[in-house]
Each structure stands twice: as structure tokens, then as C-alpha cells.
């Protein structure tokens, strides 16, 4: 068997049992990266030599009888907006040229403490603003199932790397769907935890009331394992929630007998592709066969989610991204005439069109005369969306929907019209605005051979219920075991 087909927990178990060494496994991942990443472009940097050294050290510790953490010797990739001390953190933006993170993000620190090896950084939409990884200043990432299509975004590099067997798991970040949507489009599993579950310390801020770090992997058990490692309170993030997620992996096998699965008709309305709808409906039927009770629920404000999100998220982004001014780190425009010239030209040269557009939109909705009409209005609608979920969760334990309205779209298909691109987040944004946990797992393929994702959502901090439901479905199907075809070798020049 090709070792790169092992999932994260299988690799960890194989290493504990002596079936494979960390060095062998890490070398297999690196060889896979060398072979396929020139085509897919999932990574912006690979730490090959250091990862192998860390693997040898992990094997030595194991041989010496040291217990080691839950992820001892297992390689994991990290999105380019998460800090790892001494490494670049670029957010796939020119404006962070030359920036080296002075410290570890809490999530990275906890991965290391559990014994994981950081294999490299993955590509993303610039500052996580996008749904296709096409706004990256580092070139596009391609979907392993069809290299002429997008991997989704913004964590497209993380999802593509996991799907292409370059690494068993990766951290992504999710503000409006940036973990779940690429996971769906690449046929892997992705979890956005409850807002506050994972510390945002060391994550480059996009929209602070929405951003969450979460795992992408090839099995639900891997997501549970990773959330146990990276989740929990952190004094360095004042919005981090009390308590720690425990027993998630241990509770996976309890089944879903009697679990109430809510199906909101608003998520199956116009705009959702027929094949996607059929796959998701079939997977809900599968959950019923496994003992779940399927109930209809209403989330009436769903048609307003995208509008609400693109006001709230851009408003927060316009404030957060004010820090990129060419003074303290990153890019600085050459020969500034004066300080305003330095700010304006640095930002003009360093930021890409989508980031500029969102800063403009966010600045506008917060500006004098428009604040109440746009920003305050959106915050009120956000309240109504939270209430929708509270009411729905009175009738059910998880809510099942498509993760994305369509399977992976073609490169360039949606770049000309920003609004069309924004609407690809239509199924994921509601959970972000409500702050609730949500997961995407593979639930089928289109006739063209593209993966489809099932999204499940649960009450705040009920990741245990969410993972148990997703695991039960996954164990009854084999979508997650399908492997994308090996790519033809890259032609010279790259992308």
C-alpha cells in the first residue's frame, strides 16, 4: 500500500505499532509533494529537510521509549495565514513580503506539543478573501480531481494538499466557509469549530468576529483528533472560550440512533445544482437508515446571509487590514515623498484587487452617513439569523445541507464578477454568522467525477455531536476513500 493513502490517525497508529517510521512516512509525503505539487500548487513553501530531521528525531525518541504525543512524528501542513516561529507568514499577499513570524500561533504550538511535524505552508486566497484560491499572489492552486478547476477557497491549498495525498492533514481557517467549501470541492473532510473553540492567537486577522482555525483531513476521526489537540482556552486570545474539547475521538462510535437531523428547505432552493441536491438528499436518507430521525426545519433568513456577511466581514477587514501600511514590517513602496504617500503607494502596490475591493466596501459601510444603513442593519439581521438557528435546534440536533451550491467550478469562471464568486459561499456563511460549529464530509460525486460535500451544523460547542453524526455517515459510505487520479507531469514553467 502507498503510505500516503494512510489517514492521520492510521499513520499515527502505524508509527506507534512500528509498522512505519516517521522518517519513511514523512519522506513518502515529501516525495508525493515533489511529484504532484508542480501541477497542483498546493504549497507555498515546503520545509523538506527540517521535516525529515524532525521525523528522524521523532523515531529516535520513540525508540528510546519516550511516550510522545497523540501526533508524534506525523506531518501536518499549515495555511499561510497562521504563524510558525521563524517561518514566513505571507497570507499569499505581496504586502507581507519578507515577514517572518516572531512566534508560534497557539494552534501551531499545540500541534508541536502533540508531536506533529510542520511540513510546510499552503496556498490561499489573499488574506483569506476568496472562494477559489485564485486571488493568491503566489499563483493558483488546482483541484486534484480536475486540474482545470478550482480547489475552492480560501483554504484551497490545505484542501488540495490533503486530497492529493501530499499530507494527511492541514490547518485551514474559516471566516465564511473557507475550510468547508474547499473541503467539499476537493472531496475531503473539514471542520469549522464553534467561534472561540480554537485560539486565534497567531492567526492573521481578517474578520475577527468570524475567523476560526480548523482542521482539514481525510477522515472524521482525524478532525476529532486534531480539534482535541488545537482546541481549548488560551489566555492570549480574549475571545477564546473556556474549557477544552475532550473525548471527541472516543465518542465517535456511539452511533446516531435517535439523533434528530433537521433539513432546512431554504438550503435546497434555486441556485443549488441538481446533482449536488440529489447527493445531499441521498446522504440524509442514509442517515435515516442509520437510525436518525429526519425533520423539516426553517431558517427563513438564509436568503440574506450573503448580504449580511459581505457587510460584516468587509467592515471588520477594513479595520484589521489598516495595519498594513509599510511602516513596521512587510512591503514598503520605494522612495516615498511623505508619510501619506508611503501608506497609499505601499497599499496600492502590495494588495491585490479582491482585497482592495473588500477594504473599499468595508470602509464605505462604516463611513459617516452609511454606518446605520448598512453595518448596523447587517448586525441586526445577524441577530435574526442566530435566532433562526436557536429555534431550529429546538427541533433537531444537527442540520444537514449542501456545503456548496455546485461542485468545483472552472478556473477563471467566476473571477470577472465578484458577486457571482460571493454567492458560492451561500451555504456556509450562515453558520459563520451564528458562530456555530459546522463540518463538511464527502457525500458523492457528480457525473463529471467531481466531489460533493455534505454540511452538518450543530449547537455552539457541540462538536462532539457533529463529529459523531459525520463519522456515522462516513463509516457507512466510502466516498472518503476515493483517491483522485495521478496528474500528468507538469509542463515547464508552472502556473
Amino acid at each position: 500500500m502507498d503510505p500516503t493513502d494512510l489517514t492521520l490517525h492510521e499513520a499515527a497508529e502505524a508509527m506507534r505499532g512500528g509498522g512505519i517510521s516517521s522518517r519513511e512516512y514523512t519522506a513518502a509525503c515529501l516525495e508525493r509533494v515533489r511529484r504532484v505539487d508542480p501541477v497542483f500548487g498546493a504549497f507555498v513553501e515546503v520545509y523538506g529537510e527540517e521535516a525529515l530531521e524532525a521525523a528522524v528525531a521523532a523515531d529516535r525518541r520513540r525508540a528510546a521509549g519516550e511516550p510522545g504525543g497523540a501526533l508524534a512524528g506525523v506531518p501536518v501542513a499549515v495555511k499561510d495565514n497562521i504563524c510558525a516561529a521563524g517561518r514566513r507568514a505571507g497570507c499569499a499577499s505581496k504586502i507581507l513580503d519578507g515577514f517572518v513570524a516572531p512566534y508560534d500561533a497557539t494552534a501551531v504550538e499545540r500541534l508541536r506539543a502533540a508531536g506533529a511535524i510542520i511540513l510546510g505552508r499552503t496556498n490561499m486566497d489573499e488574506f483569506a478573501m476568496g472562494s477559489s484560491t485564485e486571488t493568491s499572489s503566489r499563483g493558483v492552486t488546482r483541484n486534484p480531481w480536475d486540474p482545470e478547476r478550482v480547489p475552492g477557497g480560501s483554504s484551497g491549498g490545505s484542501a488540495a494538499a490533503v486530497a492529493a495525498r501530499e499530507v494527511p492533514a492541514a490547518l485551514g481557517t474559516d471566516t465564511g466557509g473557507s475550510i468547508r467549501q474547499p473541503a467539499a470541492l476537493c472531496g475531503v473532510a473539514g471542520l469549522k469549530p464553534t467561534y472561540g473553540r480554537v485560539s486565534r492567537f497567531g492567526l492573521v486577522a481578517f474578520a475577527s468576529s468570524l475567523d476560526q482555525i480548523g482542521p482539514i483531513a481525510r477522515s472524521v476521526r482525524d478532525l476529532a483528533l486534531l480539534l482535541e489537540v488545537i482546541g481549548g482556552h488560551d489566555g492570549r486570545d480574549s475571545t477564546s472560550a473556556e474549557g477544552s474539547p475532550r473525548g471527541l475521538a472516543g465518542g465517535l462510535d456511539r452511533g446516531i440512533e435517535g439523533l434528530r437531523v433537521g433539513v432546512p428547505e431554504e438550503f435546497f432552493a434555486a441556485g443549488v445544482d441538481g446533482e449536488v441536491r440529489a447527493s445531499v438528499e441521498a446522504s440524509v436518507g442514509r442517515m435515516r437508515d442509520l437510525g436518525a430521525a429526519v425533520v423539516g426545519v426553517r431558517l427563513p433568513h438564509t436568503p440574506y446571509a450573503v448580504a449580511t456577511y459581505y457587510i460584516v466581514a468587509t467592515a471588520e477587514a477594513s479595520s484589521n487590514l489598516a495595519r498594513y501600511d509599510g511602516v513596521q514590517y512587510g512591503l514598503r513602496a520605494a522612495d516615498p515623498r511623505d508619510l501619506p504617500d508611503l501608506y497609499e503607494r505601499t497599499r496600492a502596490e502590495g494588495l491585490g484587487p479582491e482585497v482592495k475591493r473588500r477594504i473599499m466596501l468595508g470602509t464605505y459601510v462604516l463611513s459617516a452617513g452609511y454606518h446605520d444603513a448598512y453595518y448596523l442593519k447587517a448586525l441586526k439581521v445577524r441577530t435574526l439569523m442566530r435566532r433562526d438557528f436557536e429555534e431550529a435546534f429546538g427541533r433537531c440536533d444537527v442540520i444537514a445541507t449542501p456545503t456548496a451550491p455546485t461542485a468545483a467550478f472552472a478556473l477563471g469562471e467566476k473571477t470577472a464578477d465578484p458577486l457571482t464568486m460571493y454567492l458560492s459561499d451561500i451555504c456556509t456563511i450562515s453558520a459563520s454568522l451564528a458562530g456555530i460549529p459546522a463540518i463538511s464530509v464527502p457525500c458523492g460525486f457528480t457525473a463529471a467525477g467531481l466531489p460533493v460535500g455534505l454540511q452538518l451544523m450543530a449547537r455552539p460547542f457541540e462538536e462532539g455531536t457533529l463529529l459523531r453524526a459525520a463519522h456515522a455517515y462516513e463509516q457507512a459510505t466510502d466516498w472518503h476513500r476515493r483517491r483522485p487520479p495521478d496528474p500528468a507531469p507538469a509542463r515547464g514553467g508552472g502556473v
Binding site: H301, Q328, R357, L376
Partner: protein, 95 residues
Amino acid sequence: MTIGRDEVEHVARLARLRLTDEERERFTAQLAAILDYVRKLNEIDTAGVEPTAHVLPLRNVTRPDEVRPSLEREGVLRLAPRADDGFIMVPRVIE
């Protein structure tokens, strides 16, 4: 209520973004389309609804007032595009 070129230029100044003529044209059209779309929120009656700025119950977070190590000064200065003699250098702001 739509957005015109002058307003786009004003917002760009607020956001410290220098736009090219081409960008100003493109953003004017795109922002107008996006704002037109988001105005669908006006269909909803939000009278008496409290705004949600944050989903968690907010409370003040304090810690003991103790000195802790911070980032090492030389390391921070090394990240600056221009630094000299312990300072980050910028164009003169006072004549």
C-alpha cells in the same frame, strides 16, 4: 442611493489606497452592483432587534498586572523595512 466616482475616490482616501483610473472605474461599477445586492436587507423589518457584533457573551478579560517578556527588540526591528539606531524609520512628518 448608488455610489459614484467621487464617492469611490473619497472612500479610497479614507482607506489610504491610491487607485489608478482603471481601478476607480472598475470599483465604481462593482461596488455599485454589490451595494445594490446587499440592500436586499432592507426587505427585513429589524425594528427593536438588538445588533449582534459578537456571538460570544462578552465579558471583560483581565490578568494580573505583572511584567512579562515581550518580543525581543532587535528581532522586531529586523522585520522593519527601514530601521536605524533602535528606531523604525519613516519619512519626516515634522518640518
